[in-house]
Amino acid sequence: MDRSDPVVDVHTLDRLNRLGGEGFVREMVGIFDSQGALRIRNTEACLAQGDLQAVRRHAHSLVSTAGNLGARRLQRLATMIEQAAESADLATLQDLVPHLSSEHAAAAAVLASHATEAAA
C-alpha cells in the first residue's frame, strides 16, 4: 500500500476552518469519526457476507468522507477498495479492507490533535 500520502492534508483543514470556523470543523470531524467508523464496520461486514455491491457503496461514501477532511491515506485506500469491489477482486479486498480501521484511527488522531492545537 502506498504510504507516500500524508495521513491528513492540513491545508484542507485550514481551508475548512476559514470557510466555517472551528465549530464547523469540529462538526465535520465528528461526522468523520462516527460515520467513518460505521462505514468501515459495514464494509467489513458486507465483505464477510460476500456482498461486493454493498462494499463498493460503503467504500464510495468513505472516499468522500475522508477526502472532505484531507484524510488522504484513508481516501486512497477507500478508492482502491471501491475499485476492487467494482471488479470483484476478492483477493485485493481481503488484503486491503483490514487496513481501514487503523487508517481511520490514524487520521482521527491527527484531526483531534489539529483541533486541540487550534483551540489552544
Binding site: R15, L16, L19, G20, F24, E27, M28, I31, F32, Q35, R57, H60, S61, V63, S64, T65, A66, G67, N68, Q75
Partner: protein, 122 residues
C-alpha cells in the same frame, strides 16, 4: 429585498451536505433532500433555481432522478449539476447527454462548486 436563489441539494452523505451548506448558505437559500424519491416529491411542490444532485444515491440513483426531472414539463429547463466521484476527462459530454447542465467531482472542491453555482444562478 433582493431575491436569494434557492438551491436544492440532493445528497445522502451528511458531511457533504454540511460542506455544501457552509459554502453556500451566506448567499443562497438551501433545501436538502436525502434520497431521489424525496427530491422528486419536493420538486413537485417547490421548484428551486438550481439542483445539486448526487449521482450515488441509495434506492434511486442520480441518473434515474435526472430522467424523471427532464420528463416533467415544469422542470425541463431547471439547471441540474451532478455531484459525482466518477468523472474523467471527456465525461462532461456524457453528463450533458444524460440531461445534466454540468458536473462537480467529489470530494468536493470548494472553488469549483462555488464557480459552477454562481454561473448557473446569475
Amino acid at each position: 429585498m433582493s431575491h436569494r436563489p434557492l438551491i436544492a441539494v440532493v445528497e445522502d452523505n451528511p458531511d457533504n451536505r454540511l460542506l455544501v451548506q457552509a459554502l453556500l448558505e451566506d448567499r443562497y437559500d438551501l433545501i436538502e433532500y436525502v434520497t431521489g424519491t424525496e427530491a422528486l416529491r419536493g420538486l413537485s411542490g417547490q421548484v428551486p433555481d438550481l439542483v445539486l444532485l448526487d449521482i450515488s444515491l441509495p434506492e434511486m440513483d442520480g441518473s434515474d432522478v435526472i430522467k424523471e426531472i427532464r420528463k416533467d414539463e415544469r422542470l425541463r429547463h431547471l439547471p441540474v449539476i451532478a455531484l459525482t466521484a466518477h468523472a474523467m476527462s471527456g465525461d462532461r459530454e456524457k453528463f450533458l447527454s444524460a440531461g445534466f447542465d454540468d458536473y462537480v467531482t467529489k470530494p468536493i472542491d470548494l472553488d469549483t462548486l462555488l464557480g459552477v453555482v454562481d454561473r448557473f444562478t446569475r
